[in-house]
C-alpha cells in the first residue's frame, strides 16, 4: 500500500491513525488508515482483499504520495497463519516526522538516545456508571463519546457535553457557542425508492439462489447495516424464526453469545405474557386497493416528510376502532378491567438486537396527518435510541406490522398489561372472487391476539370487521362519521 494521491494538488499526506493492525484480515474496500491531506481527512482504501502484513509508517508520520506505508499480503499468501512478527512495527519504521534538525553535536540533548516512541494508547473503553445512566437518560450513545476522564474513561462531563451539543443542534442548526458542527441528515432509501424495505431485506434469511456471491443473502444482513426500512417495524410475533435445530456437530466448542439487556427484557415479558394471558386469535382479510390508492392521493398533497404510510393507516384504523371497543383498549387487573380514557397505540419497531414499542398517545385526539407525523417521530426516535422512558411505556394496544418484510400473516404475543395486539401482514395482489368473478385484489391479513379473560370471540370479530371497514373505505379514516 502506498500513500495515495487523493486530489490533484496533494503532495504528501499525514498518516493519522491506523484502522487495521498487522495480522488483520482486510476486505477489498476496507479503510486501512486515516490520511490527512491539506484539504481533508480521508481513508486509505484497500483495493484488494488480503491480510495486513506490516505497517511501514507510524501514526503521525508525513509521507510523500506514492511511498509505501504498509505491506498487504494478497489473499492467497494471507492464508498462512499470521506470524507474531507481523505485529511488530519494523525497527526501520518511519518515525513521526522530525520537526527540527537533529541536535548539534555536544549539546546535552544529543547525548542520550531518543526515548522510544510512545506506545499507541489504548482506545478508551471504560464508562462510569453515572455516565452510563446519564447517557441513557439523555439519549446519548456512549459509543459515540470520546472519554476525557482518566485513561479515556467516559465520565458524566463527557455525556453532558455531548448532550449539550446535541441539544444545541436540535434547537437550532446555527453556530452555537462552540464551533459549528455539521450533522448530516439520513436519506432513507426507502423514502426515496418506495415503500418497501431494501430489496435484500425482503428475502428471508438463509435463502440462497446458487453459487454466486450475489446469490447469497447479502452481507448487509448484519444488524448494523440492515437498512432502516420504510416502516421497519418488527414484532415479538410468533413468526420470529424458531431457534435453529441442532446444527451439524462442529469441531469447535459452541460460543455463547450473552443475552443483551434488551433481549432479556423481551424474553421475560414475552414469557410472562404467554404464561399468564390466555391468548386467542382471529384473522380477517382486508382488501387494500382503496386504502393504497387513497394513500397515494393523499401523499400527492403532502410534503415528503409527512407522507402517510400503510402503517399509519393501520394505526389510525386501530385507534378509531378501539374507541368503539373500549374493552380491547382496557387493562386487565385482578379487581376488574381498567378502562383507559385515551387510545395510546404502541408500535413495534425493530431495533438492533430486539424491538421497542414507542407509544403514540391519544391517537384519536389527532388528525390523520398529525397522527402520522407523531408515529414517524416516535419510530424514528426508537431507531435512534432516543426514546424517553415515557415514550415507550404505557400503551393501551399494540400494532405489529411485518408487511414490508414479505410476511403474509402472523400472530403476535400480547404486550402486557394490554389486552390485544394486532399483527399485520403484507398487502399483496392475489385473485379474489367477487360475485363469482375472479379479479385481482390487494389483500392484507390482519390477526388479532386478545386476552380471553377480557374479551371473547364475537367482540374481537366485530372489532376486526370495523378495522376492515375503515381500511376498505379509507375516507372514513379521515372522518369516521361519514356515511359509507
Amino acid at each position: 500500500m502506498i500513500m495515495p494521491q487523493m486530489g490533484f494538488d496533494m503532495q504528501e499526506g499525514r498518516l493519522v491513525r491506523w484502522l487495521k493492525q498487522p495480522g488483520d484480515a482486510v476486505e477489498k474496500g476496507d479503510a486501512l488508515a486515516e490520511i490527512e491531506t491539506d484539504k481533508a481527512t480521508v481513508e486509505l482504501e484497500a483495493f484488494e482483499s488480503g491480510r495486513l502484513a506490516k505497517l511501514l509508517v507510524e501514526e503521525g508520520a508525513t509521507v510523500p504520495v506514492g511511498e509505501p506505508v504498509a505491506l498487504l499480503e494478497p489473499l492467497a499468501a494471507a492464508q498462512a497463519p499470521p506470524t507474531l512478527e507481523g505485529r511488530e512495527v519494523d525497527g526501520a519504521a518511519r518515525q513521526p516526522a522530525p520537526t527540527r534538525e537533529p541536535a548539534p553535536e555536544g549539546t546535552p540533548a544529543a547525548a542520550p538516545p531518543s526515548p522510544p516512541p510512545p506506545p499507541a494508547e489504548p482506545a478508551p473503553r471504560g464508562i462510569s456508571r453515572v455516565a452510563r445512566q446519564m447517557a441513557a437518560e439523555q439519549g446519548v450513545d456512549p459509543a459515540t463519546l470520546q472519554g476525557r476522564g482518566p485513561g479515556g474513561r467516559i465520565l458524566s462531563h463527557d455525556v453532558e457535553e455531548a448532550a449539550r451539543q446535541s441539544q444545541a443542534q436540535d434547537a437550532q442548526p446555527a453556530i452555537t457557542a462552540g464551533e459549528y458542527r455539521f450533522v448530516p441528515r439520513f436519506h432513507d432509501p426507502a423514502h426515496y425508492l418506495g415503500e418497501a424495505a431494501a430489496p435484500q431485506a425482503q428475502r428471508l434469511a438463509g435463502q440462497t439462489l446458487g453459487e454466486h456471491p450475489f446469490a447469497q443473502p447479502p452481507a448487509t444482513t448484519d444488524p448494523e447495516t440492515t437498512p432502516p426500512a420504510g416502516d421497519g417495524i418488527s414484532s415479538a410475533g410468533e413468526a420470529a424464526p424458531a431457534p435453529a435445530s441442532p446444527a451439524a456437530p462442529s469441531p469447535a466448542p459452541a460460543e455463547i453469545k450473552p443475552w443483551s439487556r434488551m433481549r432479556r427484557t423481551i424474553a421475560r415479558r414475552m414469557s410472562q405474557s404467554k404464561r399468564e394471558i390466555p391468548h386467542f386469535y382471529e384473522s380477517v382479510q382486508v382488501l387494500m386497493d382503496q386504502a393504497l390508492a387513497f394513500r397515494v392521493d393523499l401523499n400527492r398533497e403532502l410534503p415528503d416528510e409527512d407522507r402517510i404510510t400503510v402503517n399509519d393507516l393501520l394505526v389510525r384504523a386501530s385507534a378509531l376502532a378501539l374507541e368503539e371497543f373500549p374493552n380491547l383498549n382496557g387493562t386487565y387487573t385482578d379487581e376488574g378491567l381498567r378502562i383507559n380514557p385515551t387510545v395510546d397505540v404502541a408500535i413495534a419497531v425493530a431495533v438492533e438486537d430486539g424491538l421497542l414499542t414507542p407509544v403514540v398517545r391519544d391517537c384519536n385526539g389527532k388528525g390523520l396527518v398529525e397522527l402520522a407525523r407523531e408515529v414517524h417521530r416516535v419510530v424514528r426516535a426508537a431507531r435512534k435510541g432516543r426514546l424517553k422512558p415515557d415514550e415507550y411505556a404505557g400503551g393501551t394496544f399494540t400494532l405489529s406490522n411485518l408487511g414490508m418484510f414479505g410476511v403474509e400473516a402472523f400472530s403476535a404475543i400480547i404486550n402486557p398489561p394490554q389486552t390485544a395486539i394486532l399483527a399485520a401482514g403484507g398487502a399483496r395482489q392475489q385473485p379474489w372472487v367477487v360475485d363469482g368473478q375472479i379479479q385481482p385484489a390487494t389483500v392484507m391479513t390482519l390477526t388479532l391476539a386478545a386476552d380471553h379473560r377480557v374479551t371473547d370471540g364475537v367482540e374481537v370479530a366485530r372489532f376486526l370487521n370495523r378495522i376492515r371497514e375503515l381500511l376498505e373505505h379509507p375516507w372514513l379514516l379521515v372522518n369516521p362519521h361519514l356515511a359509507r
Binding site: 502506498i2 490533484f8 455539521f182 436519506h187 454466486h212 437498512p227
Partner: protein, 370 residues
C-alpha cells in the same frame, strides 16, 4: 398538441398552453419476457463499469491518473439501462461523471482508460481527461464539466434534429445539482417551448458534491421542476436497470414522435465520494450502508437469479469477462504513448489560420513560443 410540427408553432404558441398530459413512463418488463443473453449483457456491462471505476480509483491513488476523478459506483443501472433505450443514431450528452455512460454507449474501455491516463490513444487524445470523454462515432457529444452547461447544448442538438425533421432524440444526463443552475432552467424552458426532442435524465444521487438536495432546494422532488416547464416528468428508481430502460425508452418514443421533451428524475446513489479527495463529512456511514442494500448490480443479479433466467455460473463468467475487459483496458492505457508535444497547438481551431499571415506572427500563440 404535439405532432411533428413543433417548429411551426415555435413562434405562434397557443395562448394558455401550459399543461401537459398524456405521457407516463412504461413499467419495467417482466424479466422472463427478455432474451436472457441481453439481460446477461446488461449485467456484464454494469460489472465492466464497476470494475473499471474501481481500477481507476486505484490507479488514481497511485498517481497514474491526475486531476479530478469522479466515480459513479452505484449509478451503473442508470448508465446501462438508459443507454439501452437509445438508438445508435440518437445523441448522448452528459456531465463530468461520465465513465459509465461512455462505456455503456460502447466506447472502447481501453481508449477510455487511456484518456484517464492522459495518453494519445484516449478517446479525446489525452486532452480531455476523466471529465471530458467524447466519442463522435457513437454520437456521444461529451462529458461536460461545467455543471449545467450542456443542457442548452442538448437543446441545440435536438433543435438540429427537429430542424431537419429527423426522428432522432437527444439523451441529456445531468445531476441533481445542475437543476439549480440558470442554464438548466433556460434549457428546459427553451426545449419545452420549442418541443425539442430531448430526454432530460436527471441523475438524482441526493448530493451536489457534498450538499444534500434538501440543503440546496426547496422542491426536492426534482421531477416537479420539469413539470413546472410543462414537460412530462416522472420519478423513477434509478437502481433498477429495467425500470430505467423502460422509462427512457418510453420517453424517447414520445420525443421521437415530435411531442417534445421528457424529464426523468432517476433516484440513485453514489457510493464513493464526489471525487477522490472527498472526506465525506456530509453523509453518514449508515446512510451509505442503507443505500448499498440497493446496489443496482446486486439487485439486478438477484432478480435474474430469482426469475431463474440466468445461472450463477453465467454471472460468474460475466464477472470474469468484465474483469478481463478492464485489465486489458489498463494494459492498453499503460502502453499507449503520451501525446506528441508537437501537437500542443494543434486544433485550437478547425479552420486553417489565414495563410496570408507572416510566419510566427499571426495566430496569437506562435510568437510566444520559447
Amino acid at each position: 398538441m404535439g405532432g411533428g410540427e413543433g417548429m411551426a408553432q415555435a413562434n405562434n404558441p397557443e395562448p394558455g398552453r401550459d399543461g401537459w398530459t398524456g405521457w407516463t413512463p412504461d413499467p419495467p418488463p417482466d424479466l422472463r419476457d427478455e432474451p436472457p443473453e441481453r439481460l446477461l449483457e446488461y449485467y456484464r456491462q454494469m460489472q465492466v463499469i464497476r470494475h473499471f471505476e474501481e481500477r481507476a480509483a486505484q490507479a488514481y491513488t497511485q498517481g497514474r491518473i491526475g486531476g479530478f476523478l469522479h466515480l459513479a459506483n452505484g449509478e451503473e443501472a442508470l448508465a446501462v439501462g438508459g443507454l439501452a433505450a437509445l438508438e445508435p443514431e440518437d445523441d448522448l450528452i452528459t456531465h463530468y461523471r461520465d465513465h459509465g455512460v461512455a462505456l455503456a454507449r460502447g466506447s472502447d474501455p481501453g481508449r477510455v482508460m487511456a484518456e484517464l491516463f492522459g495518453r494519445a490513444d484516449g478517446v479525446s487524445g489525452g486532452r480531455g481527461g476523466s471529465m471530458h470523454l467524447a466519442d463522435a462515432g457513437r454520437r456521444f457529444w461529451g462529458g461536460h464539466a461545467i455543471v449545467g452547461i450542456h443542457l442548452p447544448i442538448a437543446a441545440g442538438l435536438a433543435l438540429a434534429h427537429q430542424y431537419r425533421k429527423e426522428p432522432r432524440v437527444v439523451l441529456c444526463i445531468f445531476g441533481d445539482g445542475a437543476t439549480n443552475t440558470g442554464a438548466f432552467h433556460e434549457a428546459l424552458n427553451l426545449a419545452a417551448t420549442w418541443e425539442l426532442p430531448v430526454i432530460f435524465l436527471c441523475q438524482n444521487n441526493l448530493y451536489g458534491m457534498g450538499t444534500a438536495i434538501e440543503r440546496a432546494m426547496r422542491v426536492t422532488e426534482l421531477h416537479r421542476r420539469g413539470a413546472a416547464y410543462g414537460i412530462p416528468s416522472a420519478r423513477i428508481n434509478g437502481m433498477r436497470l429495467l425500470e430505467v430502460r423502460a422509462a427512457v425508452a418510453s420517453a424517447a418514443r414520445w420525443a421521437r414522435e415530435g411531442k417534445g421533451p421528457v424529464f426523468l428524475e432517476a433516484l440513485t446513489y453514489r457510493y464513493r465520494g464526489h471525487s477522490m479527495a472527498d472526506p465525506e463529512l456530509y453523509r453518514t456511514k449508515e446512510e451509505l450502508k442503507a443505500w448499498r442494500a440497493w446496489d443496482p448490480i446486486q439487485l439486478f443479479a438477484q432478480e435474474l437469479l430469482e426469475a431463474g433466467v440466468v445461472t450463477p455460473e453465467a454471472l460468474r463468467r460475466a464477472d470474469q469477462e468484465a474483469e478481463q475487459v478492464v485489465e486489458a483496458a489498463i494494459a492498453f492505457a499503460e502502453q499507449s504513448p503520451e501525446p506528441d508535444p508537437a501537437t500542443l497547438h494543434h486544433g485550437v481551431y478547425r479552420a486553417p489560420l489565414a495563410a496570408a499571415l507572416p510566419a510566427g506572427g499571426g495566430n496569437g500563440v506562435g510568437a510566444h513560443l520559447p
